[in-house]
Amino acid sequence: MKMDKHTGMTLIVKMITRVTVGFMLVFGGYIVLFGHITPGGGFPGGVMIALAYILITLAYGREFVEHKVSGVTASIVDDLGALLFWTMGIIGLYVGGRYFFNFLGKGEPFNLFSAGTIIINNIAITLKVGMSLYAIFLALAILQRVVTEEEPKEDEK
């Protein structure tokens, strides 16, 4: 874990980020996994996970995050989420005869594994939404960095 003291924000922001990011990720996972029991679901949970990554990016600088999850990795995970969602629909078509047929067991209400394919669809939407929004943020941050870095070079010439 390379920690460069000169990139990113101040030490206070870095410490608070280190404490809060775990809570944000756990709460995002809770919202996703209990999306069929309590209010929530794949979309808000995915955005919350993306927000945790964005907080790390803002606090520790772009280089620190790109060794963990680069823009290319985020894009690939985004595609995998979309593919998983589509695969669930196709499996439902071949097993039950209807697109997105709920082919898993219903289970007891108020249990975690209760509503068949809904929990898998939620996880697929989470991967898709979270990683795509994080990739967009990375692209925007990099674009701004290019613009701000090029100006002093032109002045030197």
């Binding site: 929530g40 589509w86 669809n121 701004q144």
Partner: protein
Amino acid sequence: METVIILHILLVFMIIGSIITVEIKNMLSAVIAMGAVGFVLSVAFLFLGAPDIAITQIIVEILSLIILIRATINVDNVAIEKKEEIIFSNRTTLIFIGVILVFAWYAFHSLPPFGDPSMRVSQFYLTHGLREVGATNFVTSVILDFRAYDTFGEAMVLFTSISGAFAILRRWKKEQHKDFLRIDREH
């Protein structure tokens, strides 16, 4: 009845926030005023009894605020305005608002009254949802089981728009910032 009064107060606040967003000169203040509109919208969703949409709205509002502040914090917003263009755009806007209001007057009369919806479709979900799907959150059971095809299309819309945006922004990188793609392989 109380819910309607609270909703009207929130809507007036949102209209004031939107006008401030459009009219204020400072870009950062405009972004923050737009964020206030979004947060009040999430409170309105809570009063309407839709906690799912309230959670989504407040989270997405935070994300868009971060991206917009990050994008506008260093930008000089010097608006170049010509007087003739302002007059033309104001006239066009007023004409289109008038047309929309005339059609909305006829369209909204055919809608059911507020707070008294026809319960034919939603009553089916409420009575059959728990037995056929097994999810206790009926919103999730509607959007991921009964209407999963719509959700799939919505996810594909997001996928397409984000791939397009990412492709446009990536062209910048290949020309000017070539080491972005290589970071993955080196480390």
